[in-house]
């Protein structure tokens, strides 16, 4: 269970890295298509990287952060629930920054910055789980039951 917690937190942090890579590829794809004479307008569908960005950002990361939260209720990781909640919170914030970015593109800056927060808090959650796994009698409370 603790390994699951750790893996989910790791996947969220990894997801942020993937998102950054995808959005870079998305922009280069747009520019490259424009180079070939394509119009980028309301007819333009999402390119593969933009589709990837919305699948990872609107489905996978939210799904992982919800499962992380649920797993945290059952796993013994000090601060596990707290960090899962914080992760969930910044993921929600990230989605809000995305939706408001359409009307106010400047909000995109916050979307980009908050991505580091998502990766950061997910990494903290991951480390908490790893520390809890290590046999450290001084800090680890004795098992009850």
């Amino acid at each position: 269970m603790r390994a699951t917690y750790r893996a989910l937190a790791g996947l969220i942090a990894l997801g942020v890295v993937v998102q950054a890579a995808l959005i870079a590829a998305a922009w280069f794809t747009v520019l490259h298509n424009a180079d070939n004479g394509s119009v980028f307008d309301k007819n333009t569908g999402y390119n593969w990287a933009q589709i990837g960005h919305s699948v990872v950002g609107l489905m996978l990361i939210p799904l992982f952060s919800i499962i992380l939260l649920i797993v945290s209720f059952f796993v013994r990781v000090p601060g596990g629930v707290k960090w899962a909640l914080i992760t969930f919170g910044v993921v929600v914030l990230q989605i809000l920054f995305a939706i408001f970015g359409f009307g106010a593109p400047i909000v995109g800056l916050l979307h980009g910055l908050n991505a580091f927060a998502v990766a950061g808090v997910a990494s903290v959650a991951m480390r908490k789980a790893r520390l809890a796994e290590q046999p450290a009698p001084a800090t680890q409370p004795a098992p009850i039951a």
Partner: protein, 498 residues
């Protein structure tokens, strides 16, 4: 803490997380198949309560004239070739011409399009059964099948036809064409009424601009259908700069049709111009325009009058050069013509200050599920499809509608079967010519008030003409008392109007 207590708390917390999610997820599921006219919440707009479902008048009975010999009789055969949709072998399909008062009959034949097809007469306020919306006014026409549309051409103007089955894909892929209705047959420089079009097998993208067979030197009336195929913007299927023959000094009526998903800016070089009509309705007392572009919403039409030689730009380097010597292209003007103050006032034929019903059409966006799929989805009056308003009217009602957009993106709002007059934008009243629309560009942060008379019984789509947006739930309906539909959407009905 005891393990059992911990587990119990964990289960409770899990339910607290999953419960609301599951509730919203289940609530977003769309029944399949479903009755479009029974969807959503009835909205009476402050008028008397009336109902549509369970009504005794079937949409299918609200047809055009069933007898009489059509003056315009055309067969349009649609086929799919690769990812391109062709009508009689071309895209755009044949340009249809009719004279006001003529009975038009179009037989739509589906050659090989497995999803099925329909034809919607965009901007023509046809009887409901001829409106061509799959699952609402007819069933989609499957391969090998045909469907006959019959209606009287009632208002001279520029219109277009397009599929309203899986429309976000089929229109983008080319299943559309122009329809021009003229006051008298000689007004159209292209000759007699009927159909003109490209040659079978040859997509219009490779053909010269202008309808085939048009007397080249005499043309004074030119359809300029703008469409973007796979990232290539075109005029009548031609990329780059097309040419049109015209004698110097000849007066040209250019009928610009935006068949795309987003607004385009149109500007003229070499001569001042007049904006004669918007969406098939003449403007009153249009003045000369120079150094301004015309914003043309998706699905909308603008008729420009100008003297050759001239050049019309529609953006992305795509233009029509009219009349011999190449006219140098001006850069896109910084200012945009505001139809709210263009021309001079005239009678609109009804009093919108005392409406029978006043509706709100507030467009927003939120995170949620659409038929179980998570994403950013459009909302109408705060609710997602299918929980959208059903605007209920009786024949003869004076209707006001406030369309407000706070969704972060522009929406070209299209009401079927009716023309509405624009009363105000962001509280500023219309002071120019009566501005009639069937397609209205509602930008983010904008609020329009429009008014119309409910004079065309049926059930009518009132949706965003960025057709992907419609497919993503930005669609509501205007329904007349007592009218119901025998058709169904989704499931084994194979009808997918958006």
């Amino acid at each position: 803490m005891r393990t059992s207590v911990r587990v119990a708390i964990g289960v409770a917390a899990t339910l607290a997380v999953l419960g609301p999610l599951g509730y919203f997820w289940v609530g977003s599921l769309v029944p399949s198949p479903y009755d479009m006219s029974a969807m959503g919440t009835e909205d009476f707009g402050g008028g008397p309560a009336v109902h549509s479902h369970g009504g005794t008048i079937s949409v299918a009975s609200l047809t055009g004239p069933t007898t009489g010999k059509p003056a315009v009789d055309v067969t349009l055969t649609a086929r799919k070739q690769g990812d391109r949709y062709l009508v009689n072998g071309t895209s755009p399909g044949p340009e249809l011409h009719a004279v006001k008062g003529q009975l038009v009959q179009v037989t739509l034949v589906n050659d090989n399009i497995n999803d099925g097809i329909t034809l919607h007469w965009h901007g023509v306020d046809v009887p409901n059964a001829e409106d061509g919306v799959a699952g609402l006014t007819q069933n989609a026409v499957k391969p090998g099948q045909r469907h006959v549309y019959r209606f009287v051409a009632q208002h001279a103007g520029t219109y277009w036809y397009h599929s309203h089955q899986v429309s976000h894909e089929q229109v983008r892929g080319g299943l559309f064409g122009a329809l021009v209705i003229t006051d008298k047959s000689e007004k159209s420089g292209n000759g007699a009424a009927g159909s003109k079009g490209g040659q079978p097998g040859a997509p219009r993208q490779t053909a010269p601009s202008g309808p085939a067979g048009a007397p080249a030197a005499a043309a004074t009336d030119q359809v300029v259908a703008v469409h973007t195929y796979d990232g290539r913007r075109t005029i009548n299927g031609a990329n780059g700069v097309s040419t049109m023959q015209a004698a110097p000094g000849a007066t040209i009526r250019a009928r610009i049709i935006n068949t795309d998903a987003g607004p385009i800016r149109v500007w003229v070089s070499g001569t001042p111009f007049k904006l004669l009509a918007i969406d098939g309705r003449d403007l009153h007392d249009p003045g000369d325009i120079s150094d301004k572009s015309v914003l043309l919403t998706a699905g909308g039409r603008a008729d420009l009058q100008l003297k050759a030689p001239a050049r019309i730009d529609v953006g992305a380097g795509v233009a029509l050069a009219i009349g011999g010597a190449a006219t140098a292209a001006n850069p896109e003007p910084r200012d945009t013509l505001d139809p709210l103050t263009y021309g001079t006032p005239a009678e609109i034929g009804f009093d919108p200050t005392h409406p029978t019903r006043t509706f709100d059409y507030r467009i927003g966006r939120r995170i949620g599920f659409l038929d179980g799929k998570p994403g950013f989805w459009w909302t109408i009056n705060g609710h997602e499809f299918p929980d959208v308003p059903m605007f209920m009217v009786r024949t003869g009602d004076v209707v006001r509608m406030t369309i407000a957009n706070s969704s972060g993106e522009v929406h070209p709002m299209h009401l079927h079967g009716h023309h509405a007059v624009v009363l105000s934008r962001n509280g500023a009243p219309a002071t120019g010519s009566p501005w009639w629309i069937d397609s209205l560009d509602v930008g983010d942060g904008e609020t329009y008030e429009i008014a119309f008379i409910a004079d065309n019984p049926g059930i009518w789509a009132d949706h965003c003409h960025n057709l992907k947006h419609a497919a993503d739930g930005l669609v509501a309906h205007l329904a007349y008392a007592g009218v119901s539909t025998p058709y169904r959407v989704g499931g084994d009905s194979d009808n997918h109007p958006e």
